[in-house]
């Protein structure tokens, strides 16, 4: 394929929110408006890891530890950004280079989720080649 034949089209990155709490997806959707296409998926519906491999989102937001573990496998394989929002503890964690990093000091906000997800998406390169 020559350089001239390659067409590069900007695509809107997909962010999957896997959560028991649909209002989390609403908050993420609001925070990422104009940045990503946010889709909500209910937690506990089966094999989250396999589901994410099929979906291939640029970033994943989860709330439960079970889904964080399952999505962690996918994130490590694909380079997708993985954010866990611990709603009861009001905390946010980011999986970075295979290790969890705390992102919030006492308060989980949509803005922090946006920062983490947007940074991950742009670092990954949201313009894909077709």
């Amino acid at each position: 394929m020559t350089a001239q034949a390659r067409t590069v089209e900007p695509t809107v990155p997909l962010v999957a929110v896997v959560s028991r709490y649909p209002l989390l997806a609403e908050a993420v959707e609001g925070a990422l408006e104009g940045i990503a296409d946010v889709r909500a998926f209910p937690a506990g519906q089966g094999d989250t890891s396999a589901f994410l491999r099929l979906l291939q989102p640029a970033a994943v937001v989860v709330d439960s530890t079970e889904d964080a573990d399952a999505a962690g496998d996918f994130a490590l394989e694909s380079g997708a950004t993985l954010v866990q929002v611990l709603l009861r503890e009001d905390r946010i964690r980011l999986l970075h280079a295979g290790r969890w990093q705390n992102l919030s000091d006492g308060s989980a906000s949509p803005e922090r989720i946006r920062s983490a997800v947007a940074a991950g998406i742009y670092l990954r390169g949201y313009v894909s080649e077709r």
């Binding site: 028991r20 709490y21 649909p22 609403e26 609001g30 709603l87 989980a108 906000s109 949509p110």
Partner: protein
């Protein structure tokens, strides 16, 4: 058209933002946010919202306390919501003045439906919570019946029963009350007779049902 004014009182920014984003798509709602009792109180005064969604863990003293203090002062219909819900919590919220109870797992469509129902005068309570509520009311009635039976006990017998319910043996009860073990045994026999209970364990459960918040159903089963 006058929009329905809603205040979301929750320390968690995520839930406030989620509600705000969700209702932002609906033309008939106007949303305010509060992260504490003080902010909720201010908004109720200044904006007179139609509905307040109050988190069970609203700082500093919780949603039930907030509703108990604010519901008598405002016409705003207060709905409590939370993560973990037990029948006692639902009952406490409703007794405090809440018009309904929602779980935070609620779907966006269910949430909007509930709010519109509140506007029509309905009390939002999911099917699962309705069952909890009925159980709680039954538990309350049983507790009242148990308390009525407890009236038959003398004050000394109640002291003995309190210690037995706490796990004390006859010797420990005797020491605590400065009486003989023989007297403790006699008190226990009288207690079991008056309450028509078969055992010490049942008497202990009876005490907790009557004077603490342990389910009376267990006591009834044991008796």
């Amino acid at each position: 058209m006058r929009r329905t004014r809603i205040v979301v009182a929750d320390a968690g920014q995520i839930f406030r933002a989620g509600v705000k984003h969700l209702l932002g798509h609906e033309s008939d709602f106007e949303v305010f946010e509060a992260s504490s009792f003080a902010e909720l109180s201010e908004i109720l005064e200044a904006r007179e919202p139609d509905i307040a969604i109050v988190d069970l863990e609203l700082p500093p003293s919780g949603g039930v306390e907030a509703v108990a203090r604010l519901a008598p002062l405002h016409e705003t219909r207060m709905i409590v919501w939370g993560f973990d819900v037990t029948n006692d919590v639902v009952l406490a919220a409703v007794t405090a003045g809440a018009k309904g109870f929602l779980q935070k797992e609620i779907s966006p469509a269910g949430f909007i439906r509930s709010l519109r129902g509140v506007v029509r005068g309905e009390a939002p309570l999911s099917r699962g919570l309705a069952t909890l509520m009925i159980d709680a009311v039954h538990g309350l009635e049983q507790r009242d019946r148990v308390r009525e039976r407890a009236v038959a006990l003398s004050s000394r017998e109640r002291e003995v029963l309190a210690l037995v319910a706490g796990g004390a043996r006859n010797r420990q009860v005797a020491q605590a009350l400065s009486i003989s073990e023989f007297t403790v045994k006699r008190h226990m026999q009288n207690i079991l007779h008056k309450l028509d209970l078969p055992s010490r364990r049942a008497a202990g459960l009876f005490y907790r049902s009557a004077f603490e918040s342990v389910g009376a159903a267990e006591m009834e089963r044991t008796a």
